[in-house]
Symmetry: C5
Subunit: 387 residues, 5 copies
Amino acid sequence: MVDSINVQPNSPKLSSEEESCLDYYYDNPEDLPGNLDLEPNALPPEITLIDYTENTVNQIKISNPEDCIPYLKSDSVSWIDMLGLGNKIAWQQMAKVFQIHPLIIGDIVNVPQRPKIIHDNNQIIIITWIVRINSDFEPFEKEQISIILGEKYLITVQEKPEDDCLKPVRERIKNNQGIIRKQKVDYLAYSLLDTIIDGFFPVLEEYGERIEKLENEIVFNPARHSMQKIYELRRELLTLRRAIWSLREAINILIRDGTNLISPDVLVYFRDCYEHTIQLRDIVETYRDLASDLMDIYLSSVSNKMNEVMKLLTVISSIFIPLTFIAGVYGMNFNPEVSPWNMPELNWRYGYPFCLLIMFITAVGLIYFFWQKGWFENLSITLKEDD
Amino acid sequence: MVDSINVQPNSPKLSSEEESCLDYYYDNPEDLPGNLDLEPNALPPEITLIDYTENTVNQIKISNPEDCIPYLKSDSVSWIDMLGLGNKIAWQQMAKVFQIHPLIIGDIVNVPQRPKIIHDNNQIIIITWIVRINSDFEPFEKEQISIILGEKYLITVQEKPEDDCLKPVRERIKNNQGIIRKQKVDYLAYSLLDTIIDGFFPVLEEYGERIEKLENEIVFNPARHSMQKIYELRRELLTLRRAIWSLREAINILIRDGTNLISPDVLVYFRDCYEHTIQLRDIVETYRDLASDLMDIYLSSVSNKMNEVMKLLTVISSIFIPLTFIAGVYGMNFNPEVSPWNMPELNWRYGYPFCLLIMFITAVGLIYFFWQKGWFENLSITLKEDD
Amino acid sequence: MVDSINVQPNSPKLSSEEESCLDYYYDNPEDLPGNLDLEPNALPPEITLIDYTENTVNQIKISNPEDCIPYLKSDSVSWIDMLGLGNKIAWQQMAKVFQIHPLIIGDIVNVPQRPKIIHDNNQIIIITWIVRINSDFEPFEKEQISIILGEKYLITVQEKPEDDCLKPVRERIKNNQGIIRKQKVDYLAYSLLDTIIDGFFPVLEEYGERIEKLENEIVFNPARHSMQKIYELRRELLTLRRAIWSLREAINILIRDGTNLISPDVLVYFRDCYEHTIQLRDIVETYRDLASDLMDIYLSSVSNKMNEVMKLLTVISSIFIPLTFIAGVYGMNFNPEVSPWNMPELNWRYGYPFCLLIMFITAVGLIYFFWQKGWFENLSITLKEDD
Amino acid sequence: MVDSINVQPNSPKLSSEEESCLDYYYDNPEDLPGNLDLEPNALPPEITLIDYTENTVNQIKISNPEDCIPYLKSDSVSWIDMLGLGNKIAWQQMAKVFQIHPLIIGDIVNVPQRPKIIHDNNQIIIITWIVRINSDFEPFEKEQISIILGEKYLITVQEKPEDDCLKPVRERIKNNQGIIRKQKVDYLAYSLLDTIIDGFFPVLEEYGERIEKLENEIVFNPARHSMQKIYELRRELLTLRRAIWSLREAINILIRDGTNLISPDVLVYFRDCYEHTIQLRDIVETYRDLASDLMDIYLSSVSNKMNEVMKLLTVISSIFIPLTFIAGVYGMNFNPEVSPWNMPELNWRYGYPFCLLIMFITAVGLIYFFWQKGWFENLSITLKEDD
Amino acid sequence: MVDSINVQPNSPKLSSEEESCLDYYYDNPEDLPGNLDLEPNALPPEITLIDYTENTVNQIKISNPEDCIPYLKSDSVSWIDMLGLGNKIAWQQMAKVFQIHPLIIGDIVNVPQRPKIIHDNNQIIIITWIVRINSDFEPFEKEQISIILGEKYLITVQEKPEDDCLKPVRERIKNNQGIIRKQKVDYLAYSLLDTIIDGFFPVLEEYGERIEKLENEIVFNPARHSMQKIYELRRELLTLRRAIWSLREAINILIRDGTNLISPDVLVYFRDCYEHTIQLRDIVETYRDLASDLMDIYLSSVSNKMNEVMKLLTVISSIFIPLTFIAGVYGMNFNPEVSPWNMPELNWRYGYPFCLLIMFITAVGLIYFFWQKGWFENLSITLKEDD
């Protein structure tokens, strides 16, 4: 069905020598590249074939990719959905049936790859991530998903069999919702890509909420681990950002270069996907900027806290040190009996009350001084906020 | 009137198969995309039709978009002004009458979108934001407005019915001010876009004033919440900035690609709009830089404050600690009766005055030392500024 | 003389309909755009016509732009120099005589605009700023100047009539200095632009000196307001930078697009102007980087100052607190008469001198400890610098 | 075999004069450029020739490059592997046999060069680095490797003879693993480049681990030298980053310009190399961002530590200073015998216990105050973490 | 010999009118542009003519540029080497003999200019800087050098006559080293440019060493002026960076645009120069990043120092304040004779030793507490490092 493969776009024609090189692979499909990261005794992947036209849907579990061949020959849309990366034998069969270039198989099974789109004269390969958040302040989970779009078939490969995130699309096909059954395989590719991209939005929303939580925590009660939380948030946003940038770039190339596998009016839908990735990029950039500002706020909060501590120390020291000095003076043992110049206050009738009065006036004066500077106000605020 | 729709520019011709795909929508207008964020029992939008030529103006409230059809056939300019996003039925009617692509309807009703301009062979769709500021230190309000420019008609959709910000243009048409009535529908589109863009300037001016207020607050009296205010200011500027960048980019594409719906001499006016968005971008970038500098000023203010507190503590401690030590020495109980070496000062005639003199000299010396270092100067400045 | 106007470059030909739209303006010159920021009862601008050839110079004050028409028809270079933005009537007359597009008039009178260059088939409009510095640590003053270059005439519009900064060029024409009288009107445009650009250099030099002054202030005596000064410096540099970037971009477009109004060997001179704007950009970027570094130096200076204060407090506290403790011990009232274990030192013959000796040794030991750590060195430096 | 050399691509033909200039070198191979950084009495490099076809492999140690000539004439792939940079005589011979331009020889022996790719009509020269990490917190080691790709031969030059990092490829040839023996010399070039690029990944992984270690160290126990470690990490990442950017750029040029020496289906493999360099770039950028964040965390950790120290000082001072003041008051020597106003407490029956009670209440009150503010909590955390 | 000059590249032909404009200069060479920054009574420059072919070398001191004319007509390479910028008369002669455009003369004598390359149909003008470092922590010196490359001649103009940095090239010509005598004037231009670019490397190496010195100083002993040193380093690197960027850009333009004055196989050498400027750019960027990191290290060092000071204060205060309090308690004068509740300890047999014991235990307990927190460790490190 597919005679030759050529990953370099626009090459006019393959010379016979080049063809032989490529034929090599398809004649000897067991010669996959040596660097496949597959576990040697992994189970074969779970393969489901969904074959549909506007009026009919067939969903069959198949064990050998060669079972698909009869369906590929019909005019219906054939979606081969693989759960799990499978093992070497399965990929040797896949390579043979669908004529997949060994390097592409490498990209599919050696997870994780950067999101990318590879053009081929007869296939478009979309490799991207599905992201998901489980619980609070856990990093997001990611899973690689690969889509191979052929003329009448589409293959999806999901890394983790337990989470089937393409279910909504499968439901839509089964229940004939929307226009998916009225369209060709390129619209199916769009539907899958759109479902995947839409999965990024709740993850980013979660991060938006985390940033708001952190902001409240940092402004009102900066704890020691707040800084670490910001750091982790930024690290995860960094990862998300790189994924989104790659995805945006990949879809841009797909749209710009056009292709014989996507019809012009489905291309419009891909352009809509592109708009969504731009929106994702905008959100993630904004979050990164906000997280960066949070670091500054944290540092200023710590400085403010230290300032309050210093003020408390200064207030207490400034009030009691002069008082202690006065007490010290009248604790001196100069002998009042020797001369009238030696501490006559000690023998005054009101010496002690007078001394206490001086201390009191000193203390009140200092307290008034600090009150006027507004230091007590801040201290009480500090106290209240921490309650 | 409009036979087919093609969102992909420059596609020479639609094959029959493609057409059928698009026809699908217009034959079955109730098949809108499933992801419209419309409330199921929302009221229909309030639709006003303004139909004008150089000499005549008709303003009619209409309930069914199909009522517009007779006006569309005439040579006059027809402005269909929708207040509120309406409900699904209204959009099914709109899609049928004006042949609007379902994806575009999605962009119009799923608010908020990034500002953008979509080319179509028969329509230009401008989606942008109107911004407004209500009161001091409140974030700006934004509302999405969509403009659909056809050959002889123009549709505007405003998100929030209560704020009609297109009134000035409507007034100009009614009162035949300026040249708007002498021009075609493309000039009307420019007038609306210009009114919308001009709305950004007072918002940015408001932010400029906030930055100045904050600067005064931070330099002279940095409070604990100043940092948070800067943070919020930067967050809002970030949002404004992204809106302005998108808008600038969208208008740039509109001008660069040209189009059959805008005549060359009205394009000049759109270029003027473009210049305005560049000016907006410049202002918002400057404000972001200034807000970033404010953070540094705040941090330095906090450091300065702490410095003053430290100085006060040091001055008071340094003066009284040595004095207290002297008092402590003469508070020792060595027995002067045992030997003449044991604290003979206690029995001196002028022991106590002499001791006080030493304390006085010590204190004056230390005060002079700090005065020479200029510390008291700063303290009094601190005191004054805080009053 | 000029039949039609077309601001869109390269449009091959105006259709009759488009022409009529433009004709509208020139037939009804009182229909200027409504958003001109002119005071309604402003005085008419002061207009001077300088008409020269290699051998003759005429300088005439004119009151109505129509008086220029006879000079425009001759082969001489006609420079119409307007001082002040004038009033609406004057611009209606100007629009009629020189066929100026209403949007351009808007740009000229609605100051300030970003520097820009507008191409027109028959006119090049250069809008830029003249900058000037008056006194120390005042922001620079700016004035908008607009140059309209026609085939044989050149119009300049200066915002502020009091400062005539084009005097040097006028003098050169009057006195036949250099080659200006031997050249056409394009060389006159270059001379004016060059004079304007050269005006930026002394302003930037002034800022260079301010940065140096600030550096000295900050390193040796960081005052509270230094931070504010840096902030204001950066704010002004930001404004200058945006003006210079816009100017550079504008001249670049002028050179790249070429034009029928500038001959190739005068274009060389414009390229020289371009080089100057690049040099300006380099200087202003360097200054911004330096101002940014100054902020860091200020913060480190404040930290250093605090460090010195802390050291002083630590030295004084560390020396006197142990001494006070020793004095406190011998101030205790344990009764030596009860048992020989209770403070027998108090009754020793040399108890007091011995106690003083211990205090002296403790103090000297601590001073030696701090001296070895080099703390006194720093303190004396601090003292010296502050004198 | 190779008649003329021309490093400028696309020059249609060399004139006789130009040829003579180039002939000069090859006729006088001893005239190498004067600035070769070779030690005058260095040993000749160790040269190994591996000549293989699908069915045969020959591996010969050769001493004179001229010994290769017979192998070059056959259709087999000839890989000349030089260990060590060798001496001048060896390069004079190489230049003669393989017609290498003197400037290229300069690039090969004057290590280190930036990674780059030089096109030549008859040769592609790839100069890059091999990186390796030895032990913990040592900077990575780098070695320059140069690959000269001819029509049927390939020369590799390794800087340091002791580390032969091309062994895996050599093994694959010897053992006929994969498809390398079935392919031409361009696939050999790819295999080598791929091996080299793959060597970057473990180095980056090592840096990733170092960053994680540092993060733990900094968050929980920021030591004085942590900052220096971050600085050194950033310095090394800077070096790695520049190498990777250059490499990425070089491979991009190779792919974009195409060349007559690489067949289209091997170009696919080079594109895979390019993807790997992008992945490397992404990782190294992420690490640099993380290292930059670590600096902020370190600074905040230091601030936090200081905050704890200040709190401890404040707690202790605030509790004991008032107590000491109370003790000081009752240490005053006012004579209770003179009047009942002078310190009657001293003669009260429960004066002393009452005084101790007041002290106790004061202390408990203050401790409760600080406990309520949560200061003790932090102190104990600090204590625990440091254990 | 040279009939007309045209600085605008690619202008097909000069019209007679334009020519006359240019002729003007060459007919009236005294009409140099008015803004030459030459001292009016400067000495004429020292001009040396070096005329060589493969076999002959003539070196003549000439006083009038017109003396060169006979040499220009021969096929030999003529290098006119001017030391010093000279005076106006000399440049009038130069302009006449070598047909140099007045604007170019302005660039040559109005130092300093940004490095740049100007194309001319008959001349390439290279203006660049020579840099040199004299002593430690002095800014680098720079001198402008201009190279005018004609068809068979080359003019160099050095700003400062005392430093002749082109001597190595002159020596190579004299002694017939390398291939310079066998090549044309374009290779001479390369040799000069290469010598100039190579001069940047030792300057950058010097800065690399300064950064290392500063790093050691800052990490182990951050002095007050370290910050200023970093600032100055960054300021100088900023200047170097701008020079190198301009140079890189200039050479890039030269290579990209090609020219009729440089033969293809000499262009290879210019490409090598370009590679060197990229290497320079990489180094200078790395240094700027490192200098920026040094600022952070300095700030963290200052914070660390303050931390140590605070710890010392806290340790001493925390130990002695409680002890002083205990001493204060037993210094109170409650009358033990009044009741057994009043300070019976004073009359205990072992009251005083018991009190000292309590003090000792308190002190040891606190010291153990701080020792466990590792504070003494840091203090001793601090002490050691400062020795």
